[in-house]
Amino acid sequence: MNRRMSLLRTVVCRAVVSAMTAFAIAGAALGADIPLDKRRSGYADLGRDSKAMQDDDTINPATLWVLDGEALWKEKTGAANRACADCHQDATISMKGVAARYPAFSPARKAPIDLEQRINLCRSEHQQAPPLAYESHDLLALTAYVGRQSRGMAVTPPSDGRLTPFIEAGRKLFTRRIGQIDMSCAQCHDDNWGKKLAGSLIPQAQPTGYPIYRLEWQSLGSLQRRLRNCMTGLRAEAYEYGAPENVNLELFLMWRARGMQVETPAVRP
């Protein structure tokens, strides 16, 4: 747990309550998608120093994970004693654009899987190694390394009809009011982005930079960690890591961000 977590939780909870009142009064046009040309990454609202941190790999602390991911990529492991590189060779070629089209449909699971789950499938099926836990250093490192290979590329969700019901399920989750605060993700991120929640600017919840180095976490963290944070802020019970609801939300967010640039690994406050 982050050292500033409990303080922040208090602040956010209080802020959410007052925001609720403010939004009720503001009563903005509800339920509409953000027009494609009005979309903006959280990067656009970073302070100058945080932008500099994201722009320069030698300053961005996320680079430490990317380098560890590169080392893990080449490390033989599991009962199969194979490295990612044994099958996928040079990640700068084989993994280019991969993160930009995840979550993708898994025929075996008959459901979408996110990049973390895809990496873990390779561990269990191809390396015969135990899966890595969400938010573990190694899974974050591998995800950041794979994700880094798509930086600058457009988010391109697969045009796969099998994903359609899951995108819709993600949208439902995004627009459904949850928690004791009884607000939906969309009420903040579609209807009130650009406004302030106490000291924080409400971003559009674009998933383009994950895993991110979040200053508040003092660490790298996954998109699911970020989603769970917002759920906790609403005093809702967050879905477990890897739960279908979280993957559907990730899928919906990537669809919503289609065409935007992948920034992985980004920096966020």
Binding site: T58, I59, P61, T63, L64, D68, Q218, S219
Partner: protein
């Protein structure tokens, strides 16, 4: 995995002032936090950093619990001659890490 990251220009003109950027992975646990069961989480921070240029110390810093995780330290020096920059971090629990970087002064 503690890992330092150093960034210095590979080539530099004699007499020129240049920037040295250092980043190291470290949790910087303050020692002021408690677990949910009330046990104190012991302090685990980098306590000191130093840099020497061809054996002569040019920069030193003491670090404290208020410094964030993965400390990023940046400073300047004047290019005098080609050689090596040696970096050293030490900390709690016997933490010790070094790194070197070569520079060519023309």
């Amino acid at each position: 995995m503690a890992r330092p990251l150093i960034n210095v220009p590979a080539k530099i003109k004699r007499g020129q002032v240049f920037e040295i950027k250092t980043l190291i992975s470290h949790i910087m646990e303050t020692g002021f936090r408690y677990t949910t069961t009330g046990a104190q989480i012991p302090r685990d921070i980098v306590t000191a950093f130093s840099c020497s240029y061809n054996g002569e110390e040019i920069f030193r810093a003491d670090l404290y619990p208020a410094i964030s995780a993965n400390p990023f330290l940046t400073f300047f020096t004047t290019a005098t001659e080609s050689g090596t920059l040696d970096f050293k971090w030490i900390g709690d629990k016997g933490f010790s890490e070094t790194a070197t970087a070569k520079i060519v002064v023309e």
